[in-house]
């Protein structure tokens, strides 16, 4: 298992700038991303829409050429050996990529054929995949008639059809209902347990937290934090007391009041909410209430929450992913 030590994907200062015509500003979509992804893990790339996740993925899957920087994917140099990389990776784009005018079976056969399987091998592989991903019920129906969940199962099957070492999934559960999502997560875990490394992007906090083994948080084209979900949350230092204050004067007053207290580790305001990070929040909640009441700072809601990845994002960027990330 010594091979486990070499990362399956390494990037060094990967950048992508889209050059625009004169008079328009160039778009620096990815401003320098350095990552290491270990074999056999579910690696999550968490960030809001427009952070540069898809662009990074398109560079790593050889679709787009980087403007600068280096990367090694499945042991091959991204700039020198894109063809060899393609042989060993799978990619499921946001749109999926199934041909809507034909059925799952034909899509899977074509996919296997694209990677060099003979006709009979491809048919055999397609049947295996249909079984594995429980597609048989709708395998001979046109793809355009599928539900969101059915379609995503086919997309995933297409992604692993050629038994890649590493599979990239771009926002794989966007638009899925909770049940389909849970089912999809199980499928992804199964693929990991078969020894495939998974690199997925998401803007869902719960997905990053529950599904991913390791995370890199990206915002505005750069990685702002990375680690296991637990490690990232532990950095926050204790729990957060979240106080909802609609009046902006009161919000400022509350912040000034609490920032002086010794028990407060960190304090932020974001969209009518005051985030107070403390240790042992249960004991301090009453103190905070008393302080606010004494100084006549009126507030509407108050709650205590365990540290979440949103707190991590808020600390690193000053914005909440929960409110800013949806679109």
């Amino acid at each position: 298992m010594s091979a486990k030590d070499t990362p399956i994907l390494i990037t060094k200062n990967l950048q992508k700038t889209f050059f625009m015509k004169k008079g328009k500003d160039d778009v620096r979509a990815v401003k320098g991303v350095s990552l290491e992804v270990q074999k056999g893990q579910i690696f999550g790339f968490l960030g809001p829409n427009g952070a540069g996740k898809t662009t990074t993925l398109q560079m790593l899957t050889t679709v787009l050429a980087p403007t600068s920087g280096q990367a090694t994917v499945v042991g091959f140099d991204l700039l020198k050996d894109p063809k060899k990389i393609r042989q060993h990776i799978g990619y499921v784009s946001q749109a999926g990529g199934a041909d809507g005018m034909t059925d799952a079976l034909q899509n899977l056969i074509l996919q296997a054929r694209l990677y060099g399987a003979s006709k009979s091998e491809a048919e055999k592989r397609a049947k295996e995949l249909i079984e594995q991903f429980e597609i048989s019920e709708f395998a001979t129906r046109k793809v355009i008639s599928y539900s969101g969940g059915q379609r995503r199962r086919l997309d995933l099957a297409l992604g692993v059809a050629h038994k890649p070492q590493l599979i990239f999934l771009d926002e794989p559960t966007t638009g899925l209902d909770p049940q389909s999502r849970a089912h999809f997560w199980d499928e992804i875990r199964k693929i990991r347990d078969d020894g495939v490394t998974i690199f997925l992007t998401t803007h869902y906090l719960d997905e990053a937290d529950n599904l991913c083994d390791y995370l890199a948080i990206i915002d505005n084209g750069t990685v702002v934090a990375e680690g296991t979900p637990k490690h990232l949350k532990d950095q926050i230092g204790g729990e957060s007391i979240v106080i909802g204050i609609e009046n902006s004067k009161d919000l400022e007053k509350g912040k000034e009041l609490l920032v002086k207290e010794k028990f407060v580790n960190k304090i932020y305001t974001n969209e009518n909410k005051l985030y107070v990070y403390v240790k042992e929040g249960e004991k301090l909640l009453a103190d905070v209430l008393r302080l606010m009441d004494n100084k006549k700072v009126s507030f509407q809601t108050i709650g205590l929450s365990k540290p979440s990845l949103d707190d991590v994002f808020l600390q690193k960027t000053g914005r909440s992913l929960r409110e800013g990330g949806e679109s």
Partner: protein, 232 residues
């Protein structure tokens, strides 16, 4: 797909049936000798069919949108094989349409040698390749059907009018003749007419092939380049 092929044939067939008879009554000049009208008109219609491959992008754009093209780009196949596969599909239906048109033309009195017609079909395939590739370049750049539609409309009419498809360019005033010489499809139309007439040694024949081979190669190169820069 069969419906698409039939619709693609309608325009040239309508020209044959509803426009060509007009020529018979104005014929009789050295440019349009009475007995030669079908031989002069049909090669132009074949070229129109090839030029109509500009519409190929309308089925390509949805495939970009569904991510299907991206899936192909991530697979270990070269950009050129991907493109040539799509072009081959277009050219197959083009060839089928051309053969149907030729059969109808035979019924209307076409007289042409097999070799000349076969060589003309190769020329038409080159036109189809050029136009399909160009259509993909426009599709990849604009990413929407409306943009493609206005581009196709802008290109289609000048190509047709400046290539002497409806009437030979030799009837035109000098300035128009000069303009036509800048239109690669003028050479194709004239070459196809020479081939239909069996005049294989005319300079326009090799010129037509040369121009269309260069155009096809350039268009495919451009399309491969656009694919390479395409972010889905």
């Amino acid at each position: 797909m069969p419906l698409w092929i039939i619709l693609g044939m309608m325009q040239p067939i309508l020209y044959l049936l509803l426009y060509m008879p007009l020529l018979k009554n104005i014929g009789g000049t050295s440019v349009l000798p009475v007995g030669q009208i079908v031989q002069i008109f049909v090669p132009g219609m074949l070229v129109i069919m090839g030029v109509s491959c500009l519409f190929a992008g309308f089925s390509f754009i949805p495939e970009i949108r569904t991510g299907f093209i991206t899936r192909l780009l991530v697979a270990p196949i070269s950009r050129y094989s991907l493109l040539l596969g799509y072009i081959l599909e277009q050219c197959c239906s083009l060839l089928l349409q051309a053969i149907v048109l030729l059969v109808i033309s035979l019924l209307l009195g076409l007289k042409a040698g097999v070799l000349g017609v076969a060589l003309s079909l190769i020329l038409i395939i080159l036109i189809g390749t050029t136009m399909t590739a160009l259509s993909y370049v426009i599709s990849i750049t604009t990413r929407n059907e409306d943009g493609l539609a206005s581009m196709v409309n802008t290109l289609y009419l000048p190509i047709m009018l400046l290539s002497g498809i409806m009437l030979p360019i030799s009837l035109a005033p000098d300035w128009l003749k000069t303009a036509a010489h800048f239109n690669p499809f003028y050479y194709a139309v004239e070459a196809a007419r020479a081939l239909f007439a069996g005049n294989f040694s005319e300079a326009i024949v090799w010129q037509g092939f040369l121009v269309m081979i260069a155009a096809a190669a350039f268009a495919v190169y451009l399309a491969a380049k656009s694919l390479r820069k395409m972010s889905a």
